[in-house]
Amino acid sequence: MTSSFPERSLTRAAMSQRTLFNTVMTVVAFICGVLALVPLIAVLSYVIIQGFSSLSPSVFFELPPKALQQGGGFGNAILGTLLMVGIAAVISIPFGVLAAIYITEFSSANVARWVRFAANVLSGVPSIIAGVFAYGIVVLTLVKLNLGSYSALGGGFALAILMLPIIVRTTDEALQLVSQDLRQASVGLGATNFQTVSQVVLPAALPTIVTGATLAIARASGETAPLLFTALFSNFWPGSLFEPTASLAVLVYKYAISPFKNWQSLAWAASLILVLMVLITSIIARWATRKEA
């Protein structure tokens, strides 16, 4: 019998072209995989090494020092970041989750497509534009109403705009992953749409939604550009939502480019705290939703 395939033996031919190509490509893929990890590990280790050496308990409780003064801290910036991310979360999570529920559960396919498209566009908008927008909407309005100008409210609003599309998209995807069978089972038992969504669909999608919200919070807490001209900065503890407020990201930006040694080391410590805050948020979110899954 003649075959159109080349003759090959069953024993392994280590030097054949096919085997060599296979080995080489596996090695190349492995190297690329390692290279992709290098930036992450490098950044993290650099921040941790530099940050830990400048870290002391006083950074949590003290106000920023004068330029050439020793010691001091950035308790006000930690509080400011928590405050503004909190405001952003309070605005964007309810809006985002409800919008996603509307497009997956109730709207027509056409509306859903447009809302998804809009969310995608919004998530591609540079963060500084969100800042300009918040400046125009919140900061200038506050000026007009004589309530203040640069403020935590403005900063929080800018961050909310950045968080919104992330929350809409992750919630949307989470809800779409909930099997249609479950919805039918619930509706088939005589549940109303509201009961089906609130008692069957949302609980099933909760872990993924929480992960999405955490991602959004992590992204927002590291944003600097939109805060520069909405919340500005302050050397004092935040007194109200209507006054300029410090944040870790802006503090890092200001102090890292300053010529003063003590400010530079505070910037490193602040970077470390920022990274740890993001890390802790995601660990807590994972832990809190694991039982539900």
């Binding site: 099997s179 039918q184 089972a185 509706v187 005589g190 609980p203």
Partner: protein, 268 residues
């Protein structure tokens, strides 16, 4: 098609289908269905894929309303109320006419909460523990799960999950239970248990079951409707009912040649 309407003398009719046409968009999925479902009996729908038997089943509890392009004209009378009348609340219809699906689909909740869910949303005021136990006993599942009611419903085997779904449907005390190929995802032993269960349930409930398995239809049902599908010149596949009669007659002495070919396995 007047010869296909079966008149039932000895039992009451709970669901009367009159001149029902079902459309998806412009496409006619089910054509001119006339069919009476007798109370406290098991009625089976058989027929090849795409003949519309599941579509018809889902018309009975208005589950097709979830499909955007769905439209039905004609009547489905539940006793004397037309289910498709404009003043009918589909949510209330679905509580009275329950459904068991093809794939077991327990909620990602505990076994207890799977049963309690339907009762809670429908405002059940009685003793919940009692209801859960009674429903699970009726579904012949109590002895297997009584020690692990707090475990997730999805921890059960496929057959147990399907009986859990039946228990869940029973818990809201419907009058009719619709079953859409309830055993097609189960092994033969689980299938047998579900079939035994169907036998017991018809004492209290009216059951309509769609099945691909003709032996199953012959084993569990009192009456059988055979559906077929006709392909039009444009390539649309219109489902219609060929014959409806006592199960014995459908399998042993069908009046239509199509039915004879189908039940004897000579279907082309």
């Amino acid at each position: 098609m007047a010869n296909n309407i079966s008149t039932v003398n000895d039992t009451q009719t709970v669901l009367r289908t009159e001149n029902l046409n079902v459309y998806y968009g412009k496409f006619l999925a089910l054509k001119d269905i006339w069919l009476d479902i007798p109370k406290n009996q098991v009625t089976a729908f058989i027929g090849p894929s795409g003949c519309g038997k599941s579509t018809l089943l889902r018309c009975y509890n208005r589950l097709n309303d979830l499909i955007e392009s769905f439209r039905a004209d004609g009547k489905i009378l539940f006793y004397d109320k037309n289910l498709y009348a404009s003043d009918i609340d589909p949510v209330e219809v679905r509580r009275r006419i329950g459904m068991v699906f093809q794939r077991p689909n327990p909620f990602p909740k505990s076994i207890y909460d799977n049963i309690a869910f339907g009762a809670k949303i429908n405002g059940y005021k009685g003793n919940m523990d009692e209801l859960v136990e009674r429903s699970l006993r009726q579904a012949a599942l109590w002895d297997e799960v009584k020690d692990k009611l707090r475990q997730s419903g999805s921890s059960l085997s496929g057959g147990q999950q399907q009986r859990l779904c039946i228990a869940r449907a029973i818990a809201v005390q419907p009058e009719i239970i619709l079953m859409d190929e309830p055993c097609s995802a189960l092994d033969p032993i689980s299938t047998l248990r579900v079939e035994e269960l169907i036998h017991q349930l018809k004492e209290q409930y009216t059951i309509v079951i769609v099945t691909h398995n003709m032996q199953q239809a012959a084993r569990v049902s009192d009456k059988t409707a055979f559906f077929n599908v006709k392909t039009t010149e444009k390539g649309d596949r219109n489902g219609y009912m060929v014959e409806y009669d006592a199960t014995e007659l459908i399998f042993n002495n069908p009046q239509q040649q199509d039915t004879k070919d189908y039940v004897s396995g000579r279907f082309g």
